[in-house]
Symmetry: C2
């Protein structure tokens, strides 16, 4: 497209320089090439100063990536600094999050309002309200996802790109490309080494995500030394084998034109693109090209020398000259042109397609409507595994509400999260040999045996825009240990991702100790901003999903059984929302039994047996979710537990850690599991009703003999 050509009214496909004119990126690079030298120098010295002021941080990577940043923020990415939440913006992910100064500095130069010069200088400061934390955080303008733990960002980027593909397939109509952004992801060496990164790379290649561009800051340096200390694979060949386009940039510290060409060519390609950019870490400093440049400031002397050799005054700090300011000055207004063109497009779209337009607006607002009514009011009385109950509760919702994208780590037959008429999310040209086809409009995702990437990709789906997509993942509960770093990142970012975790407890049987999640609940019960919910039957499963779907800024794990469980008469979905509730009250009781999830019926059974055999009266509390219970008023909590009046014993074949807050003793499991059929495994661990009853009686006897035990927590 020649400079001055009219902007395409439907899809902004170039760099607008005025409301009527666009130029190609290549042309603009050529026109401005004389400014590049000073811009790069200014950026690099600014990074050196920002780290030096607090004698910390990660200067080297950012300095090496300067030209990449210019190519991205000035010439390639379509975004709006003054409308950071512009829906169709390109997404940028800094997967090598420790180089956050790179992003902060470009956000500042590009004109994001919150990122003032003062804020930029708050990097590594003691300022409590700093916008420049040590890794990028989603809460701040211009940051799409929180990164830092390596490999997460690239997987998030895959999710972001999938979100675009999915929304585009769902909403775009000829002439109306209302969703069409690109996702750009910067990575360092680590994202190519971390398992979660490789899982995501493999998945992106399979899905043919041509709207994803990964830019590899190939500086060949890690903390320990050169990358070839530990990695000597042929990276390009590996990426090609995974179904990616591969492009090399030899002189990545300076070749802005080459970078822009490669970036532009990657946009809406047939495959995801991997741009392997050779850079020099900390270029221009004394320690350039070495591991020393990675994670410490260069020292005042080196910074001064750098300034001198670049023609800057070593006495001056944080210098951004007018030419550099001018170079970036037009970005906010250019951004608003994208926003206005897109808003006009959506208005026109709404006129042309009123129903679809309304749906699109609703999705953009993150609305979820009418799901409560889809939950069955009652359930068949026959014993049902709660993994099946999950399907009864959630699948009708998934079927009707397009917001939900449901996936599994290769456990479709086990997790029961599919629905009639469901379409797979697949590249439309893909024809799997088992005959299950799909397209990008599909909402069921086969993640493969990649639990960690599944959850990290789901975070990306959720991060695309608040509430627009609500991802659901599914696997065995035990394998959420593989995914735990990503589940954590979802909780940390307030992303609503629902995790359907089946096969909890020892009752899952023959698969044995490697699959029996003895201690995993303690992790998730203590993880901030996460709901770990173990429902006891179908009714409670309805409550669990209600709690999880209602929590719009919180991920949840619905933890269900592989094996059938009886439907208990007085279980309550409303009770689940309170975390715990009295299942069987008994004013004559001298003991409270706490039952949980798959073993709730065991508590009911023990209460019955105690009464029948010993005339001992017990109340039963159902306790599906500690976090929800903690949110209740103190009076409610005391009334449920009544610990001032009688001892409480919790029954759960998990590690007891944390139950001490609610119970005086626990029938629990403090060793690894055992491979046996489910009912036999319960017997083996003394978790059948008979053994449990004996344990509870034994406890009551012991407390009678030793008063001090009543102040202590006892494992039974």
């Amino acid at each position: 497209m020649a400079p001055g050509a009219l902007i395409d009214s439907k899809t902004p496909s170039g760099l607008p320089i005025s409301p009527k004119n666009v130029v190609s990126a290549r042309e603009l690079v050529e026109a401005e090439k004389d400014s590049h030298d000073i811009v790069l120098k200014t950026f690099r010295l600014l990074i050196a100063d920002l780290c030096q002021q607090f004698k910390g941080g990660h200067p080297g990577g950012s300095i090496g990536m300067a030209a990449i940043g210019v190519a991205l923020w000035k010439y390639t990415m379509r975004y709006a600094p003054h409308t950071p939440s512009y829906f169709n913006r390109d997404r940028f992910v800094l997967s090598n999050g420790h180089t956050c100064l790179f992003q902060y500095t470009f956000l500042h130069l590009a004109g994001y309002r919150a990122m003032t010069f003062d804020q930029l200088k708050s990097y590594h400061s003691s300022r409590w309200d700093a916008l420049c934390p040590g890794h990028p955080e989603i809460e701040h303008e211009g940051i799409e996802v929180t990164t830092g733990p390596l490999g997460q960002g690239i997987a998030n980027a895959v999710g972001l790109a999938m979100a675009t593909k999915h929304l585009a397939a769902s909403f775009n109509r000829p002439g109306f490309e209302v969703v069409g952004n690109q996702t750009w992801c910067m990575i360092g060496d680590a994202c190519l080494q971390e398992g979660v990164g490789m899982e995501a790379i493999s998945l992106a290649g399979h899905f043919g995500l041509g709207n994803l561009t990964v830019i590899y800051d190939n500086n060949q340096i890690t903390c320990d030394g050169s990358v070839d200390l530990t990695n000597t694979e042929n990276v390009n060949a590996k990426m090609s084998a995974c179904g990616w386009n591969v492009v090399d940039i030899a002189n990545g510290c300076f070749d802005i034109a080459g970078l822009v060409n490669a970036l532009e060519a990657s946009r809406n390609s047939d495959k995801p693109t991997f741009i392997n950019v050779r850079t020099v870490i900390g270029i221009g400093s004394k320690v350039e090209g070495t591991a020393v440049a990675h994670g410490v400031a260069f020292g005042a002397e080196d910074v001064a020398t750098m300034k001198k050799s670049n023609g800057f005054n070593p006495e001056e700090h944080f210098v951004v000259g007018q030419e550099t300011r001018d170079f970036f000055a037009g970005l906010p207004s250019r951004g608003e042109m994208y926003v206005e063109a897109w808003e006009q497009l959506v208005d026109d779209y709404e006129k042309e397609y009123p129903e679809l337009g309304a749906k699109f607006r609703s999705r953009m607002k993150g609305e979820l409507k009418g799901w409560e009514e889809l939950i069955p009011k009652s359930f068949p009385e026959k014993p049902t595994a709660t993994r099946a109950s999950s399907g009864l509760v959630f699948n009708p919702i998934a079927k009707e509400l397009d917001s939900f994208m449901v996936g599994t780590a290769d456990l479709s037959p086990s997790v029961n999260m599919s629905w009639p008429g469901m379409v797979d999310f697949q590249h439309p040209d893909r024809r799997p040999s088992c005959g299950i086809n799909g397209n990008y409009g599909g909402r069921y995702i086969h993640y493969g045996v990649r639990e960690h990437a599944m959850c990290a990709v789901a975070n990306g789906l959720a991060a695309f825009s608040p509430g627009t997509i609500v991802p659901v993942t599914s696997s065995f509960f035990m394998f959420y240990l593989y995914a735990a770093p990503a589940v954590r990142m979802g909780a940390l970012q307030n992303l609503q991702v629902l995790h359907a975790a089946t096969h909890d407890s020892i009752g899952m049987g023959e698969d044995g100790p490697t699959h029996q999640p003895i201690e995993l609940s303690t992790l998730y019960r203590s993880m901030p901003n996460l709901l770990y919910i173990r429902p006891g039957d179908s009714e409670e499963t309805a409550g669990a999903w209600t709690a999880a779907i209602s929590a719009r800024n919180t991920p949840s794990i619905i933890s269900t059984s592989r094996h059938t469980l009886p439907q208990l008469p007085s279980t309550s979905r409303q009770g689940v929302l309170k975390g715990a509730y009295v299942l069987q009250e008994n004013e004559a009781a001298t003991l409270t039994l706490i039952g949980v999830g798959a073993e709730l019926s065991h508590a009911v059974g023990v209460a019955k047996r105690l009464k029948e055999e010993k005339g001992l009266e017990a109340r039963v509390v159902s306790f599906p979710c500690q976090r929800l219970f903690e949110r209740q008023a103190v009076e409610y909590k005391r009334d449920v537990l009544r610990r001032h009046r009688m001892p409480a014993v919790v029954l759960e074949p998990y590690a007891p850690n944390g139950w001490e807050r609610y119970a005086d003793a626990a029938c629990c499991v403090t060793r690894f599991g055992h491979s046996l059929p489910g009912p036999e495994a319960y017997k083996y661990f003394g978790f059948d009703v008979e053994s449990l009853t004996a344990k509870v009686l034994g406890y009551l006897n012991r407390v009678e003999r030793d008063e001090m035990l009543r102040r202590e927590f006892v494992e039974l």
Copy 2:
């Protein structure tokens, strides 16, 4: 080598058929080829019967892999069924552990004594002492590692192969190859999808582990359908890019000769070898080649039909005919020939190299001698980060005791786990560009940014032979969440692996919430058979390492600070061994303060301030390890905590879950962290001594007003 050639007296390099004669595997295959048909049929029908009897299990994979098993157990692997612990045996790892029947059945046929026919039939039974759990378990004869969670086994196999390389480099002398085994690892599709598998593959290629052969059961089927639903990468090209030899076997269900040639060629190659074996899952059944064959029994009718079409009587079950018995009959005696030849070799070696021979014997016994004396009796009084204390304590031990192999996930400058004169573990021809060379005799391992593989590989190093190698891993504590599934597998297998985890607590500072391990301690404190130890100063760090090194069947995490901590006057390494101890006794006390690790000094500071400002007397308990404390006598525990006499408040900027057992209230952190310099982060979370003191006083006031609080756990 022609049949009948004399056995090589030093290194058994073929298949001995009598003490004086060996033949090549190829020749033996040719000589016995007429038996293969019946052996394969027998094996497949036996698997079908074993699953059908309990209507469960995973028949399809095992059936498809029959020829691979014959090639391995009959023609390739060097092992001794009657001496399962033969030190120089080939190691076999079933990374696709759900196909365990494959291994159990070959163990039975090969003549492992424990694996009787009755035991084989116990697969999926209710027998409590079954040797056939749903996944292979290390405790049983012929099983090298417990597998099941996918991707772990292949990483273990990398560790096993590294162990061989290392021991060979350390002990072999010309003519005396006392260590020279091959590691064989079966994988399915999942190990090529799971991140930990890919990390390990990349590492094995880098290290050039020519003694590792991975056999890919390429049946193109997973639970959800065909592999190309989710994975369409060019696997062979990817493996080549990772530095592996790649061999294809087209007809893997039947081509025993082709398999044996490929397996034999891979032994002691220049690179690790990937044998891509095309098989058909559940071959011969009605559901062959489909996902249905994967995880359910075929049904009685299908099994009967299979028998008929193979010329077997459908009314007979578990049939192993004489020809098949004869086919495997010689394996135990062949195994003993390997053992005897090797024992003779080691005897001769000991005569030739008495000192080295004695050392080799000691290592084989797993002895660790003289390490206690290497721990400093005292430490410099200057404030020291406990990550530095870890180095002061452990590095002198690592330097002297060759049993320790220390590694890091690219955090050498941060973890302080290196020692003077240390040599890297590297392929001897490798010349990293940063100039750090090494060889296979080296004991410092650069694992790269691959925390998960690091810990899974370490499990393999430890599993080679009990105690012969004690692996040490190191990273930031937060990243042990990436590695958690492998840490768990180490604990489950009773493997001594020491994890040096630095940067614990919010005090690690600017890196912020993604790096601050608020809730991770609860996972490790509740994980069975693991010691999670947080020492408070150098003296306690000495105790932590003492506890960890003494625990020969238990992994440990030593959790240390990034920031400097004061040396406290009365800390005690002996106290650490008890898990908790009274740091400051005070008979006038009305309150116990529990301090932990990096914040132990905060507890001391609060006690001082309470006394000075309010005249309130408090005792201080140091509590570095909950699991060690749990092992103490009840009297000791009561005496340390004195909870019947006064309330206890624990101070730890972690999620409090689990502290309820030992304290009545916790100054804790129940949200994610914040990016600030360490001391400022403490202030931000109200974890400076002044704020903590106010919180403790507030608690005491509240308890006075509300007696019931004394029975409840309070978060401050």
